[in-house]
């Protein structure tokens, strides 16, 4: 056997091991979650070790119950509201801010540009208790807007950082041309910078949406009234409730994860383009 064949064999072996590992750790629980969510309660109790799912036994009762008896239709709406608001605010603020640190010259521009990511030095768990106290005293705690504000603070640094890197690759002559052609600074941003940054903006939007949609810690701490729960908060509520029926929790979990997965596959191509577009000026 030649050396090359041995190396290839090793690589193949490692790859297969990796796939199996990934499958067990990630794919199997996911599979289990989906399968369980479609099973009737009796089936789960009688046959807890059954990994399969027979087609004729699929039932959507768990989804129905979760959505309409446990108020998840409202939680979905809440999560959508919070996530979309965060995306809109984060993307627009990051566009303006990223543009400012890239193109405008002002005192402290360098410091600001460099310190954008500084907020990541503080883990969320360190911030959540002071913020809890602060918002409680201010009487703002149990509201979507506080949640949106916190998500904004969490996503804005990375959003700014990504957009700034992208804006730096845009040729400044394009903006000069726009100004001479009759645009104001804002006009240049809206008519030239934003259309050209569409892939980067899509990336940032998706990233922000994922963070806001999946976020649990702050939602758990800040939201008290059940009618304001977001999805992730709702799932925990469900799991904690007295009559613990597994398939309901599974159905709820599926509803949390599916939208993100769909979104990811829809935007995936743009996402990759956005991330590499910075290296290769188009």
């Amino acid at each position: 056997m030649t050396r090359e064949r041995i190396e290839n064999g090793i690589i193949l072996g490692l790859r297969i091991t990796g796939m199996i590992f990934f499958f067990i750790v990630v794919a199997f629980p996911f599979y289990w979650m989906i399968v369980s969510s479609f099973k009737p309660l009796e089936e789960m109790l009688l046959n807890p070790g059954n990994l399969g799912l027979s087609i004729n036994k699929i039932n959507f009762k768990a989804y129905y119950e979760v959505l309409f008896e446990h108020d998840f239709s409202r939680y979905i709406f809440n999560s959508l509201y919070v996530s979309i608001a965060t995306v809109l605010l984060s993307v627009s603020l990051a566009t303006i801010g990223g543009y400012a640190v890239t193109r405008l010259h002002f005192r402290g521009q360098k410091v600001m540009s460099l310190s954008i990511l500084l907020i990541y030095m503080f883990p969320a768990i360190v911030l959540v208790i002071p913020l809890y106290v602060l918002f409680s005293k201010m009487g703002l705690r149990d509201s979507f807007h506080v949640l949106i504000l916190v998500y904004l603070a969490q996503t804005l640094p990375v959003a700014l950082y990504m957009l700034r890197s992208y804006f730096q690759t845009l040729p400044v002559e394009l903006e000069h041309a726009g100004m001479i052609d009759g645009c104001s600074r804002l006009g240049v941003i809206l008519r030239i910078v934003v259309p050209l940054s569409a892939p980067a903006l899509a990336t940032v939007a998706l990233y922000t949406f994922m963070i806001a949609w999946n976020e649990f810690l702050f939602a758990f701490m800040f939201l008290d009234s059940p009618e304001k729960f977001t999805l992730s908060r709702g799932v925990v509520q469900l799991a904690d409730s007295v009559h613990l029926s597994k398939q309901l929790v599974m159905a709820a979990s599926v509803m949390v994860s599916i939208p993100i997965i769909i979104l990811f596959f829809v935007f995936e191509r743009h996402l990759v383009r956005g991330l590499t577009a910075g290296a290769l000026k188009g």
């Binding site: 000069h176 041309a177 001479i180 052609d181 030239i192 188009g282």
Partner: protein
């Protein structure tokens, strides 16, 4: 009233003083070329005229009106960039119409002006394409079209031909000249290419290190360079320039260079003795076989097709001589100089010194 007046323009970038007091007037319909080596501040001057950069001191006047407080869009100018800077997300038609749309020109007028401009530049077939689908020459035309379509007071062109290959550049240069004769617009054109400057310019402004060295007709720039920088910068191959001194000997004025002595026939004794620099253009020197004259040792002879160049030595200095394509002295041989006394250039302290002819 001049179309553009620049008064005492100063600009610095950090510690570098890029422009050191520029004064210039450009007349209506004039094709004015700013020429200089890279880093001389010519593009900066153009950007200040456009309002893209702010000057530290000085005033820009368009049609006699100060425009320093106006943003680029209020100055009624158009600019063609070296990189063309076409909007990649718009079609050619979109690129051409962008400025008009921003200025809220009625749709019908926009359509008319676009088709007129497209026709002028021969890009009617390209209107639906995106810039990425165009060749370099086509992009250049679209960039020109975007400037032309608005009929601004001033056209600012920043090295618009430098991204084209050599053959295309020569063609586009001619077209540009023709275009200018057609539209009679005022053009400020920045380049580092002396051939572009000489062929295109009604007037050429030679710049160096943030200062204007000479403003003249191309012909005059070439025949009467005001200092040694302009003398060296204009002309290819460049002028032969020698340090030395002027000497009066009996009735003859001579130039004593490093290892050679050249009689300046036809130069009067009014010229004072002392240090000077002598400039000889390669084409103002003839060669002959008269051994009474100054000998040149031939080192290399190069063919350019239409003419030959001899590279050789006089004394301890090098010299370049242009000869006809039939003359081909062998390397190692000696030829003898014959100089046209009306065509010599003399500089003192770096500046042109007038020659009083007998």
């Amino acid at each position: 009233m001049p179309a553009l007046t620049l008064k005492g323009i100063f600009k610095r970038f950090g510690k570098v003083q890029v422009l050191k007091g520029i004064d210039l007037e450009v007349n209506h319909g004039e094709f004015c070329v700013l020429l200089g080596p890279s880093g001389c501040g010519k593009s900066t001057l153009l950007n200040i005229t456009a309002g893209l950069f702010k000057q530290e001191a000085g005033t820009v006047l368009i049609d006699g009106q100060p425009v320093d407080h106006l943003s680029p869009r209020e100055r009624d100018i158009a600019m063609v960039f070296q990189s063309y800077a076409l909007y990649p997300h718009m079609t050619v038609a979109g690129n051409l119409s962008f400025g008009l749309r921003m200025r809220k020109v009625p749709k019908q007028t926009i359509i008319e002006q676009i088709s007129e401009t497209a026709q002028l530049l021969g890009i009617e077939d390209l209107l639906d394409r995106k810039p990425s689908e165009l060749s370099g020459g086509q992009r250049q035309r679209v960039a020109m079209g975007r400037a032309l379509v608005r009929r601004p007071k001033l056209f600012l062109l920043d090295e618009p031909l430098s991204n084209l290959d050599a053959r295309l550049r020569a063609n586009v240069r001619l077209e540009l000249k023709r275009l200018h004769q057609q539209i009679r617009g005022t053009i400020i054109y920045v380049t580092h290419d002396q051939i572009e400057a000489m062929t295109l310019g009604d007037r050429v402004v030679v710049m160096k290190e943030g200062e204007i060295r000479q403003v003249d007709l191309p012909k005059v720039i070439y025949s009467e360079p005001q200092d040694t920088f302009v003398a060296k910068f204009i002309g290819s191959p460049e002028m032969n320039l020698y340090q030395g001194e002027i000497i009066h000997k009996e009735n003859q004025v001579s130039f004593k260079g490093n290892g050679f002595m050249l009689e300046l026939k036809g130069v009067g004794k009014e010229i004072e003795q002392g240090e000077a620099e002598l400039g000889l253009r390669p084409e103002d020197i003839e060669i002959g076989a008269d051994p009474a004259r100054l000998p040149v040792k031939v080192e290399i002879t190069s063919h350019v097709g239409s003419e030959n160049f001899i590279h050789g030595r006089i004394g301890n200095e090098t010299i370049t001589i242009r000869v006809s394509k039939d003359e081909y002295p062998k390397p190692g041989s000696e030829v003898f100089l014959k100089i046209n006394p009306n065509r010599i250039h003399l500089f003192r302290g770096g500046l042109r010194h007038p020659l009083v002819k007998l």
